[in-house]
Symmetry: C2
Subunit: 245 residues, 2 copies
């Protein structure tokens, strides 16, 4: 598309060239080239921006000096603040589902030191020896699960012993029923389908919350919008249970 139209991109271009701190020399054809518009359009837009009070122009012979006014700069600040609001606010992803019993292999796998030590180190807690299986209820929850799987940023490496090899998994920290620290496990080559998640936690959640099969539970993950997409910086900006902002 090109998100920005003529006037807006002129203001941004000027700001990028420090035209809020001092006058900047400019020609309409150079501006046109930069913004992929015609020289005539550049000329007209500068006239309009000046008329509307977003810039000042000082013409000395053949040279034109342009400066952003406070009004022009405020326009950019507003936009900046709005985008900051989007990208720097944690977004809560909530998954609801029902507890069910698995085959108990979760407990076995977590008890293996090859997994146990990694969990302890990378998740920051000593895991209860067992996982809680949760069947997701809605298509929204399943959609959320798929999103979280993409974003999960903690990797538990696979390993081998003399008998067999053990696969790797990704996980992401979450909050269980608005209370308990936990992590959702995304296990490579699981036998579960995408409507199921497994949760590991420092405590026995089943016991602590008095859960039996079929009980409804809730998982919340709070993450930064930018982490949902690949391009930008830090990966490790997930927060657990952050409600405000």
């Amino acid at each position: 598309m090109k998100l920005l139209k003529g006037k807006e991109s002129i203001l941004i271009f000027l700001a990028e060239n420090d035209a809020f701190a001092h006058e900047v020399r400019i020609t309409t054809s150079m501006l046109a080239k930069q913004l992929s518009i015609s020289q005539q359009t550049a000329s007209r837009l500068l006239i309009q921006l000046e008329k509307e009070g977003y810039i000042t122009r000082r013409i000395v012979g053949k040279e034109t000096y342009v400066k952003l006014t406070e009004k022009g700069m405020n326009e950019l600040i507003d936009l900046h603040v709005r985008l900051k609001g989007i990208f720097e606010r944690p977004v809560k992803i909530t998954l609801e589902g029902r507890v069910f019993s698995g085959l108990g292999e979760g407990a076995y796998y977590i008890s293996l030191s090859g997994y146990y030590n990694q969990i302890k180190e990378k998740l920051g807690f000593e895991p209860f020896l067992g996982t809680l299986n949760i069947k997701l209820l809605s298509s929204a929850a399943i959609e959320g699960r798929m999103l979280l799987e993409k974003v999960a940023n903690i990797v538990i490496e696979g390993f081998k012993d003399e008998k067999r090899s053990y696969g790797s998994a990704k996980c992401i920290k979450a909050l269980f029923n608005d209370e308990d620290e936990c992590a959702i496990l995304f296990i490579e080559r699981t036998h579960h389908d995408t409507s199921v998640i497994e949760v590991v936690a420092p405590h026995n959640l089943r016991e602590k919350h008095g859960l039996k099969d079929g009980d409804k539970v809730k998982l919340t993950v709070s993450l930064q919008p930018v982490s949902l997409f690949s391009n930008l910086v830090n990966v490790s900006n997930t927060e657990v249970g952050c409600e405000k902002l």
Copy 2:
């Protein structure tokens, strides 16, 4: 003006409503109302955005669910990064001028405990008992001086003793000849005109740099673009001598 035109503001509106994390229910008339456009335009823009790959739409009976695509989100991220580049990059203001001798009253005023202690506390150094007078050379430097005076964020309060009252001053930290920590003083009711600045520093700059009247010197202040304007947050975001980024 309204910096944003239809399509762009729809993308931002959707992002503000978390439409990058999950589908969002929307009607064209509600969207029209929010963005002050007609229902017809809202409809047309949604169709176009979908065709261009910025959003996906899922129509279930009368309900429409919209989601930003990765492409759409990247468009916003690009803009965000661009604005961050503008507002979160220090801008260097450089003032050049020539040293000249004043009447020596700078030394007297700074030696007064009413000023001395404030300088020590608010500027973070014990000032040399004297100021360096600098006559600015260019109109650009004078313009810069006026800008800095507006932005100067450290206030030295005036006070009274039994004999007379002493005026207040503002100052801002700067770098002297790319080397020395110092501060530019903007004295209320000074007898100097706007082409002159006074500098206070922890050392005797005249001696340390072997300066005599007429020698050229340089002052550099590095500040955040947002601090140039009133609306936004933190005032104390001035940095001294930050060259990179």
